[in-house]
């Protein structure tokens, strides 16, 4: 059985119409279950579209359009062909005809509108599917990061003692913050570690509490940077587990921005 990565080269061949038999079947089965590969296939076909557009040449002969329009006229798909009617008086013929015409126009307008709406709906569905795929992927990442049995491995020089480390990731534009801790010692009962934002001006601001798991790891997700605050550094202290508004014990770890 091929892995996801092993299908990658086959996607291009599939887009080129190159696969057949079992190879094609296996890839199609994989695509049916793999949103990322479906998307990549569409992108590859877009690439092929660009490649195709590197062709240029003369306009097709004028007769070609006439030929096409004749063929199309010979295959009408008009769904509103009026029925044949018997000879009647002028008004008896015209009034129903006008009514039928009005209905026809109304129906055509509705159908056209419906087709437009169907296209819009298809667009929304596609976006929804893509967003749903992205959300699935993000959820998978979050589940991994927050799984109780997730093992965090910090790579350090060989034989170096293991020190507690923390990594704060934040975005000034998004005002969001997350923090990952490794190799932290357990806290005494009633205590917890507290993360602090040290602003460029003013007092430290609390940014979340955590207790390390049995491996010494912890994570703060969904943290927020207060509006108008420029973070200069981040720090960790040990506080009562209910949290504190200001640090009451020595700083255990500190990291400056930049």
């Amino acid at each position: 059985m091929k892995t996801h990565e092993q299908f990658a080269d086959d996607l291009a061949l599939y887009a080129l119409g190159e696969l057949s038999g079992a190879e094609q079947r296996h890839l199609e089965q994989h695509i049916a279950d793999c949103a990322a590969c479906r998307r990549e296939l569409q992108m590859l076909r877009g690439d092929l579209g660009l490649l195709a557009l590197s062709s240029s040449g003369p306009q097709p002969p004028a007769r070609s359009k006439q030929r096409l329009m004749r063929s199309i006229a010979a295959e009408p798909r008009n769904r509103f062909q009026p029925a044949q009617t018997r000879q009647r008086s002028l008004w008896a013929t015209l009034i129903p005809a006008f009514a039928a015409l009005a209905l026809l126009l109304l129906a055509a307008a509705l159908l056209l509108n419906r087709s437009d709406l169907q296209n819009q709906l298809a667009a929304v569905r596609t976006q929804n599917r893509d967003l749903s795929d992205q959300l699935d992927r993000l959820n998978e990442e979050v589940r991994l990061l927050s799984a109780p049995d997730a093992v965090h491995v910090s790579l350090t020089p060989q034989n170096a003692p293991r020190h507690p480390t923390g990594t704060a990731i934040f975005s000034p534009s998004q005002k969001r913050l997350m923090f990952m801790a490794s190799n932290f010692l357990p806290v005494p009962a009633g205590k917890a570690y507290e993360l602090w934002i040290i602003p460029a001006a003013g007092a430290p601001m609390p940014a979340g509490m955590f207790k390390p798991d049995q491996h010494g790891n912890a994570m703060i997700m969904g943290g927020k940077l207060p509006q108008g605050v420029t973070a200069k550094a981040f720090a960790i202290t040990m506080e009562n587990e209910s949290g504190s508004d200001k640090p009451t014990s020595p700083i255990l770890l500190v990291g400056t921005v930049g």
Partner: protein, 183 residues
């Protein structure tokens, strides 16, 4: 992408597709004026025969007329879709095989506006420039696979490259085209 961000060309293509669905022949006429040159150029380059290219042009547009639901305007540009369909049909003819891909199965993600001839010419120039700057090995493989319709086995034999290398380079070439085009 939000619906309000759908480009005007895409909306135009959507409207044309909607009119074709209800049997509006004038919409086909507009579509032909807009994209016949693209389809004909691809067909001519691959088939190297004006008469065969004209037949293929007829075939592609008639297929769309007969099966208007095959194009989903929300999932790519009409020009790129028609270009890929034309290439696939032309290769089928070169290999004298029946069409391998249903046109409705072909979803082409391409965000470029190509409704006007000037836009099409700009894209042609840009693609050619990107191809000219591409690693010649990759470019050659794309030419053999895409325009000459050689299988990867044929290409491996012809170029003396291992099969796996051919596969990987074809994909890498396409991704390079995408990346440089976006850059």
């Amino acid at each position: 992408m939000q619906p309000s961000e759908i480009g005007s060309t895409k909306v135009d293509d959507m409207r044309l597709a909607a009119r074709i669905r209800v049997g509006d022949q004038s919409a086909m006429s507009e579509l032909y004026d807009r994209y016949a040159k693209v389809v004909y150029a691809v067909a001519l380059r691959i088939l190297q025969n004006a008469e065969a290219a004209e037949d293929l042009l007829q075939d592609v547009f008639l297929q769309l007329w007969r099966n208007p639901d095959s194009f989903d305007a929300s999932r790519g540009s009409m020009a790129a879709w028609l270009a890929v369909i034309s290439r696939n049909r032309a290769i089928d003819r070169l290999r004298q095989r029946r069409p391998e891909t249903d046109i409705e199965d072909c979803v082409v993600a391409c965000a470029h506006d190509l409704a006007e001839e000037t836009e099409q010419n700009l894209i042609v120039e840009k693609v050619r420039q990107v191809l000219a700057e591409m690693n010649p090995d990759y470019r050659n493989l794309l030419e053999l696979a895409f325009f000459q319709g050689l299988t990867h086995n044929d290409i491996a034999e012809k170029t003396g490259q291992p099969l796996g290398t051919v596969k990987t380079r074809i994909r890498a070439g396409l991704q390079q085209l995408r990346a440089r085009f976006a850059g």
